[in-house]
C-alpha cells in the first residue's frame, strides 16, 4: 500500500478515535458553563451561548461540593499513604526475604485476587459496625489499605534488585530495617510513584463502598455525592456536568502529569508477569 495513503488512513483513524474518546469529556466541560436549562434543547448546543459560573457557584455554595472534595481528598491521601507503605514492605518481603512458606503464601494471595471484592462487602460492613468504624473516615479507608495487586506490582519490580547489594549491606552489619529504608526504597522509587497513583485513583474513584459505609452526608465523597445529586436533580443537567467536572478533573490532571509512571506500572504488572 502507498505510504502516504497508509499515513493518512492510520492517522485519520487515530484522530477519529481520539475525538470519540475526548468528546464526552470536552462536552461535559462545555455544558458545565452553560446557563441552567440551556442544554435541554433540540438541537443540543455544543458551546455555551452565554457562559456562566452559576453552576459551579450552586455546587459549592448550595450543594456543599467543597466539603465532599475535601472528604475525597482526605480519604484518598490516607489510603495512598498507608497502602504504599504496607504493600511495598510486603512486596519486598515476597521478592527478597526468605521466610518459611513464602511461595505458598504468595500463590494463595494470587488466588485471593480472583475473588470479587463485593463478596466481602456486607460482612465487612457488619464487622466494622462491631468495631465502631461505620460512618467514619477510617471505615471508608479500610478496604483500600492493602491489596494483592499492589503487593504483586512491587514484588515484580523488587525482584530486579541484585541480591549482592543486599548481602553486602548485611555483611556490613546493617539491620533489615535500615537496608529497607536506605538501600531498597530508593531503588523502588519509580514503582512507588506508580503504586501511589494507582492507590489514589482507586480510592478517589471508589463508589460502592463509600456509598454503603458513609451515611452522614457531611462525610460523603465526590462520586457518592454526584450519584445522589444525579438522582435528585434529574432536571438540572448543567449542574450535574459541573459536578462531573469537579470529580474528574483532579484525577485527569494527576494522570496527565504522572502518566509515564502509571503506564509503566501497568506494563510491569501485566506483561512481565
Amino acid at each position: 500500500m502507498n505510504r502516504t495513503l497508509a499515513t493518512a488512513i492510520v492517522n485519520g483513524l487515530l484522530l477519529a478515535l481520539a475525538a470519540l474518546s475526548l468528546f464526552p469529556l470536552v462536552w461535559m466541560l462545555s455544558v458545565s458553563f452553560m446557563q441552567p436549562g440551556a442544554a435541554s434543547h433540540f438541537p443540543p448546543p455544543l458551546l455555551p451561548a452565554d457562559p456562566t459560573l452559576h453552576n459551579y457557584r450552586e455546587l459549592f455554595v448550595r450543594a456543599g461540593m467543597g466539603r465532599y472534595f475535601a472528604n475525597s481528598l482526605l480519604i484518598s491521601i490516607g489510603v495512598t499513604l498507608v497502602s504504599v507503605l504496607l504493600n511495598t514492605m510486603a512486596g519486598y518481603a515476597f521478592a527478597k526475604l526468605q521466610f518459611a512458606g513464602r511461595e505458598k503464601m504468595f500463590r494463595s494471595l494470587l488466588a485471593v485476587m480472583v475473588i470479587p471484592g463485593q463478596v466481602a462487602m456486607m460482612p465487612l460492613f457488619l464487622l466494622l459496625k462491631q468495631m465502631g468504624l461505620v460512618n467514619t473516615y477510617a471505615g471508608a479507608m479500610v478496604p483500600g489499605l492493602a491489596g494483592v495487586f499492589g503487593i504483586f506490582l512491587v514484588r515484580q519490580y523488587a525482584r530486579s534488585i541484585p541480591d549482592e547489594l543486599l548481602d553486602a549491606a548485611r555483611i556490613d552489619g546493617a539491620s533489615e530495617w535500615r537496608i529497607y529504608w536506605q538501600v531498597v526504597l530508593p531503588v523502588l522509587k519509580p514503582i512507588l510513584v506508580t503504586l501511589a497513583i494507582f492507590s489514589f485513583l482507586g480510592a478517589w474513584n471508589d463508589f460502592m463502598w463509600p456509598l454503603i459505609v458513609l451515611s452522614d452526608q457531611s462525610l460523603q465523597t465526590l462520586p457518592v455525592a454526584l450519584a445522589s445529586l444525579s438522582r435528585e436533580h434529574v432536571q438540572d443537567n448543567e449542574l450535574m456536568m459541573a459536578g462531573s467536572v469537579v470529580t474528574v478533573l483532579p484525577v485527569l490532571l494527576l494522570f496527565l502529569s504522572l502518566q509515564r509512571y502509571y503506564m509503566q506500572g501497568l506494563l510491569v504488572g501485566s506483561v512481565k508477569g
Partner: protein, 292 residues
C-alpha cells in the same frame, strides 16, 4: 534479626489487613449464605435460621436471578470481544510506523480510563437522551429515527456495553502496545521476504506472539466485566424492564436495599463460582491451543 523474622515482619501488616478485612469477611459471607439472615435477624439475632443450601436452590429457581445472569452474560459475551478488538485495533494503529504524534494519541485514548464511572455515566446518560442527546441529533441529521437508548429494553444493554468499551479500551490498549513492541522486528522481516501480505503477517506473526498477552487481557477483562454494577446503578437503575440488572446489581439490591444478607451472599458466591468456571475454561482452551 534474621531475614526470616524480617520477612514475616515486613509482610505481616499487609497480610493482616488482607486477612482481617477481606479473608475473614469472605468466610463470613460463605457462612451467611447458609442462613436466612435478613432484616428481622439484624434486629434480633434469635430470628436467624440455618437453611443450608436453600438460598442457593431458591436462587436457581428465581427467574430474576436467571435474567440477571443472562444480562451479565450478554454484557460479557458481547462486551469482552468488542473491547479487546477495539484495544487491539487502537494498539495496532499506535504501533504503526506511519503513526504521528504518538504521545498525544496515547494520552487521549487512555483518558477515559482514569475518569470516575459515576461522573462519566452521568455525561453518557445525557448524550444518549432521547430528545436532547447528541447521539440522536447525529442520527437525525443522517435521517435515522431517534432511538430511546436508555428507555427501550432492547437498547439499554447495548448502550451500557458501548459505554464500558469506551471507558476501558485504553487500558488494554497499553498492554497490547507493550506486547506489540516486544515482538522482534526480524520476524516481520522474514515474513516479508517470504512474500507475506500485511494481513498474513498479522495472522502468522503478530497474533501468535501476542498469545500470552491476549490470554491475560482476556481473563482480566472478562473478570472485570462479570462485575458489572456501577453503570446500571447510575444510568438505568436496572431498568427498563430489568434488562440491565446484572448479577452484582441483584446482589446489591438484595443485600443493601432489602438487607437479605443470606440471599445476597449466595448470589455473590454463585457469581464467584461462575467466574472461576469461565476463567478456568479460558485457561484450558488456551493451554489446548498451546498458548501458554
Amino acid at each position: 534479626m534474621s531475614t526470616r523474622t524480617a520477612g514475616w515482619l515486613f509482610a505481616g501488616p499487609a497480610l493482616l489487613v488482607i486477612a482481617l478485612f477481606f479473608g475473614l469477611p469472605v468466610l463470613a459471607a460463605l457462612a451467611l449464605s447458609l442462613t436466612d439472615f435478613d432484616i428481622y435477624a439484624l434486629a434480633d439475632i434469635r430470628n436467624l435460621r440455618f437453611v443450608g443450601i436453600d438460598n442457593y436452590l431458591a436462587l436457581l429457581q428465581n427467574p430474576l436471578f436467571w435474567k440477571a445472569l443472562g444480562n451479565t452474560f450478554y454484557f460479557v459475551l458481547v462486551g469482552v470481544p468488542l473491547s479487546i478488538a477495539a484495544s487491539l485495533g487502537a494498539a495496532l494503529l499506535l504501533h504503526a510506523k506511519v503513526a504521528k504524534f504518538r504521545p498525544f494519541f496515547r494520552t487521549a485514548l487512555f483518558a477515559p480510563v482514569v475518569t470516575t464511572v459515576v461522573a462519566v455515566a452521568v455525561i453518557w446518560r445525557y448524550l444518549f437522551h432521547t430528545k436532547y442527546g447528541m447521539v440522536n441529533w447525529g442520527l437525525s441529521s443522517l435521517g435515522i429515527e431517534p432511538v430511546d437508548w436508555l428507555g427501550d429494553p432492547h437498547w439499554a444493554m447495548p448502550t451500557i456495553i458501548l459505554f464500558a468499551v469506551w471507558k476501558n479500551f485504553g487500558y488494554n490498549m497499553i498492554i497490547f502496545l507493550a506486547g506489540l513492541q516486544a515482538i522482534p522486528e526480524d520476524l516481520y522481516e522474514a515474513a516479508r521476504i517470504d512474500g507475506a501480505s500485511g494481513w498474513k503477517q498479522f495472522r502468522h506473526v503478530t497474533l501468535p506472539m501476542l498469545g500470552p498477552v491476549l490470554l491475560l487481557v482476556g481473563i482480566l477483562t472478562m473478570a472485570g466485566y462479570f462485575q458489572l454494577f456501577a453503570e446500571p446503578y447510575v444510568m438505568t437503575q436496572g431498568g427498563p424492564l430489568q434488562s440491565t440488572v446484572s448479577v452484582l446489581y441483584l446482589m446489591y439490591e438484595e443485600g443493601f436495599k432489602w438487607w437479605n444478607l443470606g440471599n445476597a451472599s449466595a448470589v455473590a458466591f454463585l457469581l464467584f463460582a461462575i467466574m472461576t468456571a469461565f476463567t478456568s475454561g479460558l485457561l484450558w482452551l488456551a493451554r489446548k491451543r498451546g498458548v501458554e
